[in-house]
């Protein structure tokens, strides 16, 4: 099994397509960082318009931690599309290429191959996320410095102490890995049903875009179905950055407002992953390899 994973990883990282996603993430992040470096203060001023009516905010609001948060907000919506590019190609791409019949006539079972391919796609996903974390968090920390995280949410502001931030990002990235693995498994499922890569790639992207729109529209009809959409749960990494307050409205350092919400989302996402991968295995086991 280990050798299958090695073979699959080898193939992924020998393909030029793999690096498109790494390049795209780097380009997006650098462009946003550059923009914020040059014109970030007016952006921050715009965000803080309401606050400045009442309070003076003193300190480095636009620091690496906030930049990383802004980047994650923007990118974690789009990275799934890049993940789909590889994940949705894992089975269908080889079917299209005609190499799937070579793999499936080796002494390893289809279940083993499908699992090895899923694990390899997951490794790719995680590496992409680590790459994103490195650029979004560590490069931002290096370029913009660090300070408290002054987070402007829709209805309130959260001020998280500098020393209380980093572990939250670790949590958020671990959470994000579950989100992205859900996308990987969805792409994988679509991939198992097709004989070419374009269909599943476009299919996965469309599904993500469609469900994300449903998740973000605040229309009562959609609010009912929202809790059942995986895209709703994918966004809950943000919960790591909301903090509890005590009776006298003091934020409790090291606390998370809604841990059950994070747990629920992780369970929902994990169930999706298991469901999608199991379905892929079932489909591939039954399938006649005609390509």
């Amino acid at each position: 099994m280990w050798s299958l994973i090695q073979v699959e990883l080898y193939k992924i990282f020998r393909r030029p397509r793999t690096y498109i996603a790494f390049g795209a993430v780097a380009a997006l992040i650098v462009v946003i960082q550059l923009g914020l470096k040059i014109d970030g203060n007016s952006y921050a001023a715009f965000l803080m318009k309401d606050i400045n009516d009442t309070l003076t905010v003193d300190g480095k609001v636009l620091n690496g931690y906030l930049i990383c948060y802004i980047l994650l907000q923007l990118l974690l919506v789009h990275v799934p599309l890049l993940v789909a590019l590889i994940a949705a190609d894992m089975l269908s791409g080889e079917a299209n290429l005609g190499t799937l019949r070579l793999l499936f006539s080796t002494p390893f079972s289809r279940t083993q191959w499908v699992l090895a391919k899923f694990i390899a796609a997951s490794v790719y996903t995680i590496l992409l996320l680590i790459w994103l974390a490195f650029l979004a968090l560590f490069v931002s920390m290096w370029v913009f410095g660090t300070d408290d995280l002054f987070l402007m949410k829709s209805n309130y502001v959260v001020l998280i102490e500098q020393k209380d931030v980093l572990w939250r990002y670790v949590g958020a990235f671990v959470f994000a890995s579950f989100s992205l693995l859900t996308v990987t498994s969805l792409g994988f499922l679509m991939s198992s049903m097709a004989g070419n890569s374009i269909g599943p790639i476009v299919g996965t992207m469309s599904a993500i875009v469609f469900f994300t729109i449903l998740s973000t529209l605040n229309i009562p009809l959609f609010t009912i179905i929202k809790p059942y959409l995986f895209t709703t749960h994918m966004n809950n990494w943000k919960e790591f950055f909301d903090i509890k307050v005590n009776a006298s409205n003091e934020a409790i350092t090291g606390s998370i407002l809604n841990i059950p919400k994070i747990k629920t989302s992780l369970i929902v996402l994990t169930l999706h992953i298991i469901l999608f991968v199991t379905a892929s295995i079932m489909i591939m086991k039954k399938k006649d390899i005609l390509s």
Binding site: S3, L4, Q6, V7, Y10, K11, R14, R15, P16, L97, G98, T99, R101, L102, L103, F104, S105, T106, P107, F108, S109, K286, D288, I289, L290
Partner: protein, 301 residues
């Protein structure tokens, strides 16, 4: 000992019967020629041998074991190329062999990869990416992949497709060498009789998913035997006469028409028997060779 034993396998794709009640056996050390025109069910059969396609009915045993139940153990000893030589364009020849050597349960000795490349004449192009390869070179690399783990059964589906005459000759030599010198069993398919008849010990012709004829090549090509087609007004009655007259051994399986492979000297006797029994004969046509016969059945399609 039979290496492959296929019993009454059929495969339907919806209404299409790709393979229809096919049975045959391949003996150890044999080169088995699997002949049929394109779309006759060859590749579907080969894919069933490799458990890429699940048969609708029937059973397949390889090395005396069911492929459904002992897939891994069987495939460890099988090397195959299936139809087109589809490969990874971004990898080179050597990387392909390394990759496929890795997905074997047994350990492939270090020298095996270079030796295999040498065997198929690709050693000098080992480091070139496959996207620069001609169809013939890809075909040879495909064969190398089938051979790299030193399997005892080699299944080659149309191995000479896309090859130039020298390439075809080289593959022919290789097949003979694998069987005669290395004692391997080779199952080779083609749509050209001329290719098969030069290497195969045994030939099976498949048409529209059904077995048409199977026999030892030597016998099938025996100039002392002729293929005879009997054209009558009443095929059913004629068949009864043939069976009663102990010519049934010479009958070739066929959906339509009556064909026999019969020693030349027995043709007059057959004629006499039919006439005596009062069969309304239209004609008794003799075919010159297996090639004629093959061409005829395939052109009838």
């Amino acid at each position: 000992m039979s290496v492959i034993k296929v019993q009454h396998i059929s495969k339907h794709f919806g209404n299409l019967k790709a393979v229809d009640d096919l049975s045959f056996e391949v003996q150890a050390g044999q080169v088995f020629g699997f002949l049929g025109q394109n779309g006759s069910g060859k590749s579907t059969t080969i894919r069933m041998l490799l458990s890429l396609i699940h048969p609708s009915s029937g059973s397949i045993e390889i090395f005396g074991k069911s492929i459904e139940k002992n897939r891994a153990a069987i495939l460890e000893q099988v090397g195959a190329i299936i139809e087109r030589p589809d490969l990874y364009p971004y990898l080179n020849a050597k990387e392909h062999l390394q990759l496929f050597a890795k997905v074997r349960k047994q350990k492939i000795p270090a020298g095996a990869i270079d030796a295999t490349l040498e065997k198929v004449g690709l050693f000098h192009r080992a480091k070139d990416k496959v996207q620069t390869f001609s169809l013939g070179m890809k075909q040879r690399l495909g064969i190398a992949i089938a051979l790299v783990h030193n399997p005892s059964l080699i299944i080659l589906d149309e191995p000479t497709n896309g090859l130039d005459p020298q390439g075809i000759a080289a593959i022919r030599t290789l097949i003979k060498q694998l069987a005669k010198e290395e004692g391997k069993t080779v199952f080779v398919s083609s749509h050209l009789l001329s290719e098969i008849e030069q290497v195969a010990d045994q030939i099976l012709i498949i048409h529209q998913g059904k077995k048409i004829i199977e026999g030892v090549t030597k016998d099938l090509l025996d100039p002392q035997r002729r293929i005879v087609q009997i054209k009558t007004m009443d095929d059913e009655g004629t068949l009864q006469v043939i069976v009663a007259g102990s010519f049934s051994n010479y009958l070739l399986p066929r959906r339509e028409g009556i064909f026999l492979k019969i020693p030349t000297y027995e043709i007059p006797l057959l004629n006499e028997t039919l006439v005596k029994a009062g069969v309304a004969l239209l004609a008794i046509e003799t075919k010159n060779s297996l090639e004629d016969y093959f061409l005829q059945i395939t052109s009838n399609a």
